[in-house]
Structures are given as C-alpha cells and as structure tokens.
Amino acid sequence: MSSSKIQVRGQPLLRVPARNHRMTHLVVCGVSTKRHHREINALSSNSGPSLDSVPTRTDKRQFLRGDGNGKFGRFGGKFVPETLMSRLIELEDEFNFVRCDHEFQEELTTALRDYVGRETPLYFAERLTEHYKNIVPTIEGGPEIYLKREDLSHCGSHKINNALAQAMISRRLGCSRVVAATGAGQHGVATAAACAKLSLECTVFMGAADIEKQSFNVLSMKLLGAQVISVEGTFKDASSEAIRNWVENLYTTYYLSGTVVGPHPCPIIVREFQSVIGKETRRQAKQLWGGKPDVLVACVGSGSNALGLFHEFVGDEDVRLVGVEAAGLGLDSGKHSATLALGDVGVYHGSMSYLLQDGQGQILKPHSVGVGLEYPGVGPEISFMKETGRAEFYTATDEEAIQACMRLSRLEGIIPALEASHALAFLDKLVPTLRDGAKVVVNCSGRGDKDLDTLIQRGMPSSFC
C-alpha cells in the first residue's frame, strides 16, 4: 500500500516490496565493509583492551566522541550472542549508508519538520530566570535560563526523533514488524506513531508495574495500532523480553531501541538521530545571543535526551555539560536510579557501562517518580563522559523533581514531564554558582500530561486553592 523505497546499493533506486534481501558486500561511502567486518569480529571475539586502561589519543575531540567501533574508552562494545552479530552488522552498514544518503536525509528532514514539528524552539524562560534572580540576589542579574522545547514535539517528547528515523531504516531493511520496549511509555507511543505512519506492524513490551502507572500511554499505543504486551517487572525486564522476541523473529523484525544503551551500533544510532537537538540549539543560540550556551543541563535515565543535546558540543570545551540522575527517595534509601553516582562497571544489555548491581552482580531494581529515568544502567557514552570528566553528573530526589515541575507550571505555564523536572530541579543548586549573564540551556525533554495522575496522588500543597 505505501511506497517503501528500499535502496539497493550500487543500483538506481527501485520501488521494491518489503522483505527484499540486501546485499552486504558492496562499498559503503568509500569504506570497504569487508575490512569493517574484520574489525568488528576482532572486538567481539576477545575482551578488548584492559578494563583499567583508558587509551589516549592525540586528537582530544576525536577521543571524546569514541571510536567508530562502538567503544568509548573501556565502555560500550558488542556483548551479544552469535545469532545477533550478523543482524547488528547489517544494521550498522545500513546506518552508515543512510547517514550519507541524500534521499534518506531529505525524507527524514521533511518528516521531522512536517510530522514531528521541528525545529523545536529555544525558549527564554523569563519568569524562571526572574525567580532565580529574586532568590539569589546578584548585582547584575544572574544567569539566563533557556528551555529547549522537546515537549512540543509530536507525541510530547524527544523520543520521536529517533523512533521515526529508525522506523525508516527498518523499512529499508525489509522488515515488516517492529518491536520495542518502553518504560514510561513515551518511546512506546513514539514507536507506535512512527510505525502507523510508515505502515509497519508494531509490538511494544512494557513492565506490568509501568503499565499501571502510565495507563494513558498504554491506551495511546493501542489507539495507534500497536500491540502492547505486559511483562512482569519494569523496563529492564521489558527490554530483555523485547530482545528475546527479536531474536526469535530475526529476519522479519526490527528491534527499535529507544535509548543510547545496548550493543554497538545501537548507542551511536540513537545518539546520532537525537543529536538534531544539539545541532538546532547551536544555531538558535547563535541567532539569539550570538554565542554558545555556557551550561547544558539534561536529565539522565539511560541518556538519550542528554546525549542528543550534549553531542554537538562535546568538542566545545567552554560548554559545561551537566547530567541529572534520579535520586528517588534519597541516595541512602536504596530506592533510586542514580547509576553513575552509586553504580559499578559491568556488562548489561550488550554493552559495558555503569550499572546498579549488588555484590553478586545481580541487577538492582531502580526507582524514580520519573518513570523514564527508572533504568539500572546508563549509556556507555555517558559512562565515558563521566570517566573522562567531560560531563558532570548530579542527582535530584523525587520530591525535588515534583517541586520543580510545579514551579515551572506556575511560572511559565509549561507542565514538564517528571523526567525533565529532574534537570529543572538541579537549577536550584546550579544557578547560585554561575556568573551573571551565563546562558543555561535546559533540555525540556517532554511534557507532563502523562504525569498528572502521579502528581494528583502526591496531593496538592497547601499553597494551591
């Protein structure tokens, strides 16, 4: 019914039906894939470089972006069973191809503009800025706070940037079916929407506990034509189940990862498609104040919205990168999702990264009022940024996030998602340390309509009538 254009490389574009088998031995962008495969195989067959050493390179910028094989220092990699290897290689080839393919990029840009509603504004939060001026009296006027409005995207969060692009790739690969796992439901809804638009079958796995908390998102997914399968547990269990389902249906099914975790090439694919956030921010900052941001702040669950904003500025050493994780009920409570603050390095969901594990290496159950931050791991590139000191990571509790949510609602008329509220909460500690006129860009990664039930349950403070 819909036109699926599958590019067979080396030949002019044909309209071919789905399930067309691709040829993988052709040259991609001038780099022979055969050589590429050898390197990949070398990586997966042994443990790679020593876990204690962080390799140094002469070009710091290049170093900070990781290498092309999915290694970010000692983090990342491709810790997967043999059955998945060829699929991952195929995915990487296709991804590298579409990166250079003019037609794909044009189709994606049009869809991001007309379907998703990009570019999202870089909005000067006048009243929030004023609020901090009043509580932190300074001579000149304190920092200026800008919000990158990913809450205005179709489906209400940044997730669609990646879901749409990957759904386009899945069609190119000849898949008729997409599987995904979702925590808060935002990635599930975005995937369901993208699949509906591109006429792909969609199955979303979601933890039973999450389904209860985010029923609105579950209903939305179903309306969008997706099948929602309940999995006992939370996001991490849903992820495992989704991957299992993918392995069982390897050649008809595409596993659409929502975030920057997983085996190579998943982290860089997701990061690449989210990096439109940072690219726009650079351009908009230039237009608005003729310079760059001084500080970028984003919440960190697994890290996709953070990397989406940060990636563009990794090489700009004068731009501070600040990630905020979920401290839940407090770092000492045992009920949190502060992976970088309290985790240890290990392999989880196919890559090496920080994760919340106990003494026996068993994964701990994370908690946060921002369901999208409830992940016991974190993207390998984020771990790398922490280790190299390129980015700083802090935490905010459930209570602080809720307060920040209410504050932004009252001051700017924007109800942020509870996930994004963690980034906003950290402004309380950050702002007093900044110089006057410092430009702070906070990634408002989603809108909070989905969290109203949670906020209602928490009860209204007495200041509201």
């Binding site: 007309d114 379907y115 509603g117 638009k197 006429s199 179903k222 034509g225 309509d449 209602i456």
Partner: protein, 475 residues
C-alpha cells in the same frame, strides 16, 4: 443590571430567569437575552429584529436579496462593519455597563494592530512559546486511503495545530488576549470553561505573563473533568466552582459576566471563540488568522498554489475562521465547516446549529442558534465538548447565508470512526472535535477531482479524548 435605552425590545435576563432554561453546557460568554413580554414574541421562523444599539433602521430581507445586498464580490463585504455586524449577524447586545469595556477593547485592538512592538512581541511568543509556525503536513496514508480504483483522488494536507503548546489552536487567541490585557494595564483575567480546554489555555497564558487568573466552572463539570481542574490549579489559576442553576457552563458564564461587570476596571474577560458581542468575534478571528496566513505561505512553498478546499470543524467557529479568513476573498477556494450531528440530526441530540438552527440573539450577538418554537435554547449534544454549543459565531452565519462557505455535519459515531482511522493511518491521535472534520472527508473526497488539494485544520490532539474513545471503540 442597567437596561438598554428607551427603545429597548430586549433586556438581559436575570439569573432566576435563566435557571428556567433547559440544562445548558455551552461555552457561552454572556447570559441569553430574552424578550420582554410586551415585545413581539419571537417565533422560530421570524428573523426580523430591531437592534437597540444599531443606528440603522431594522432590516428585513428575503433570501434572494441577502446575496444581492452582500454582493457577490467578497472583497466588498464588511467583515464586520463599524457596528460589529456581518450582514445582519453579530452586533453588541449587552447591558450598558459593559459597553464601555467593549469600546475600550475595540480601540485597544485597533491600535495594537498597527503597534510594531506589540506585533513583534506577539510573533516572538507565538514562535518560541507556542511553537509556531505549525507544519502543513502531507498525509500520505490518508491520501492513499481516499485514492479511487483508477488511481485518482485528492491530496490531503493537515494543518498541525495539534503541535501547539497545550495541544490545540486555542492558545493563539489566549496568548494574544493576555498580551492585550497587559497592555491595557489589566492584572486580572477571568474566563469560563465547560470541559476545561479553554480554561487550561487561559491558565497557561496567565502563568506565562504573571497575571491573576480566575476560571469559573460549573460544579458538575468540575466533577466530570477533574484532570483539567487539577491542570488549571497546577498552572496557578483559581478555579471557582459555580453551584447555582444546573451547575454547568451557562451558570459559569453568568458568574463570569457578573465578575466582569463588577471588576471591569481591573479585569479582562478572555473569550475563547468567535462568538459573543463585538469586538470579540473579530478579535478572536484575527488572533487565529495566523493559521490561514501560514497556510497560504506553506501552500505556495509546497505546490506553488493555493488550497482547493479548506475543511474545519465548527463549534463556536474559531479554528475554522482562523483557517478560512485569509482565503475568503479567494473565491476559487472552497470552504467547508463541519458541525456535530451528535446522535443524528433527527434525534434532537446534536449541535448542528447552522443546519438545524434559526436566527436569534445569544450571548450578545445575532447568529444562528438551536432554539425551539418559544425561542428557548435547545440543549446541544456532541461527544466532543468543544463542539457542544447551541450557537455559532456570527461570521459563520453570514458566510453560510451568502453562500461563501458550506456547512455539513457528522455524527458521534462517524467522528469516532475517523478518530480511530487517522490514529492508525498517520500515527496522529486527533481531538474528537477535529475528528468531525476528518470524518467529513469520507463524503467529500469521492466528489473531488484528481489532484485537488484539501487542507484540513487539525485543530487539536486527542490525548484528552483517549479515555472517552476507548469506552466506545473496540481496541
């Protein structure tokens, strides 16, 4: 409450009189005006009225004369004239106490239209806060759905007002009126709301501009729409429950009016649609006209021409006027409004004002409205709260009468089908209001020539309707 001048044939009804009216849930702005017993009784077929405000003599027109008087050249139409009338519709049927506030508003509006600072500030807010311009999106799968067997069919484009901040077109007007209120030095904003959408939009802009916000809502509606009540409070607005009468929208409206009359010096009344007394229909339309202006530009960019057909749902009529206004003078552009037929036009439970209504005065303006033989307002019904209004903006009444726009209607069931269809085909969940416009495509598209370009105003997203829809749909 002061009465109008000596020649009055209408006076505002008191609160006790309005409680005799049947249960209303309309997003009305002012109480309904009922004639004095001595005045000639208004039968549903009579549309001759004498307007106390107007200085022109009463006008009684036969159908054929209407179009001649209006002229077939749209550029000659006064929309509105200096008395706020669109042909014979519109006007300013209000108590004396509000006349000054309305004149002040009108003066302010005209002066701000040419005020560069104001326009620049408004444009910036629409861009950075609301997220404009909204895309004109080519709906590939929907177009495919309407393609006929021989491969021919129209091309469907959706004007994505659902992507605006707060998820509907309403914010365009709310933001502009809040800015206007600030310019007027008013620190206090009031509004009434039925389902809560207009209330939320108003609360949003008041938070943004640091204005005190009071929303009047019927106590019954507050129970049914607890989530929206919470939203408004979260945004810092005070939601005042109204317990008088049937505790629904019309009672909330009366309270809001009472408040405005009492506090008119400090308070601005944010009206949500192109209804009400002049200058509101004109003002609200002009604040939404950005929709049509962008559409013209985007159509030119995309296909180097104009749309062939514009389609929009019509409750009070604001999103439709926002799209249509720009193109009224382009006579080759067809304009189609779609109202709510509820349970069906013959069921008596619908909100198809332009199809089944008669002319009368409601909420300060002359327009079509749903009334019985005794001139009492008939309670409307639609599954979508935003279309559940017994009246319609006067400009729509005018456009219908002169034949410039066509009006159809769609049932609850057809709207739900469209809701489901568009969610599945395009991955965009439409508001139930918008779903009415989308439903009409089923009847419209088979009649259109190959390649005809249809622009449909996707006036809102359907997140707020997911719970309602699930109850009715097999999902």
């Amino acid at each position: 409450m002061a009465t109008a001048s000596t020649a009055a044939t209408f006076r505002p009804s008191s609160v006790s009189a309005s409680s005799e009216l049947t249960h209303l849930r309309s997003p009305s702005k002012l109480p309904k005006f009922t004639p004095l017993p001595s005045a000639r009784s208004r039968s549903s077929s009579s549309f001759s009225v004498s307007c106390t405000i107007a200085k022109d003599p009463a006008v009684v027109m036969a159908d054929s004369e209407k179009i001649k008087a209006a002229g077939s050249d749209p550029t000659m139409w006064q929309r509105p004239d200096s008395f706020g009338r669109f042909g014979k519709f519109g006007g300013k049927y209000v108590p004396e106490t509000l006349m000054h506030a309305l004149s002040e508003l009108e003066t302010a509006f005209y002066s701000l239209a040419t005020d560069e600072d104001f326009q620049r500030e408004l444009a910036e807010i629409l861009k950075d806060y609301v997220g404009r311009e909204s895309p004109l999106y080519f709906a590939e799968r929907l177009t495919e759905h309407y393609r006929r067997e021989n491969g021919e069919g129209p091309l469907i484009y959706l004007k994505r007002e659902d992507l605006n901040h707060t998820g509907a077109h309403k914010i365009n007007n709310a933001v502009a009126q809040a800015l206007l209120a600030k310019r007027l030095g008013k620190k206090r904003i009031i509004a009434e709301t039925g389902a809560g959408q207009h209330g939320v939009a108003t609360a949003t802009v008041c938070a943004r501009f640091g204005l005190q916000c009071i929303i009047y809502m019927g106590a019954q509606d507050m129970e049914r729409q607890a989530l929206n009540v919470f939203r408004m409070r979260l945004l810092g607005a005070e939601v005042r429950g109204v317990h008088s009468g049937t505790a629904t929208l019309k009672d909330a409206t009366s309270e809001a009016i009472r408040d405005w009359v009492t506090n008119v010096e400090t308070t601005h009344y944010i009206l949500g649609s192109v209804a009400g007394p002049h200058p509101y229909p004109m003002m609200v339309r002009d604040f939404h006209a950005v929709i049509g202006k962008e559409t013209r530009k985007q159509a030119m960019e995309k296909w180097g021409g104009k749309p062939d057909v514009l389609v929009a749902c019509v409750g009070g009529g604001s999103n439709a006027m926002g799209l249509f206004h720009e193109f009224v003078d382009d006579t080759e552009v067809r304009m189609i409004g779609v109202e709510a037929a509820g349970f069906g036009l013959d069921s008596g439970k619908h909100a198809a004002t332009l199809t089944k209504g008669d002319v009368g005065v409601l909420h300060g303006a002359m327009s079509y409205l749903l009334q019985d033989d005794d001139g009492q307002i008939i309670e409307p019904h639609s599954i979508s709260a935003g279309l559940d209004y017994p009246g319609v903006g006067p400009e729509h009444s005018f456009l219908k009468d002169v034949g410039r726009a066509e009006y159809f209607s769609v049932t609850d069931e057809e709207a739900l089908e469209a809701f489901k269809r568009v969610s599945r085909l395009e991955g965009i969940i439409p508001a139930l209001e918008t779903s009415h416009a989308l439903a009409h495509l089923e009847k419209l598209c088979p009649t259109l020539p190959d390649g005809a370009r249809v622009v449909l105003n996707f006036s809102g997203r359907g997140d707020k309707d997911v719970q309602t829809a699930i109850k009715y749909l097999e999902v």
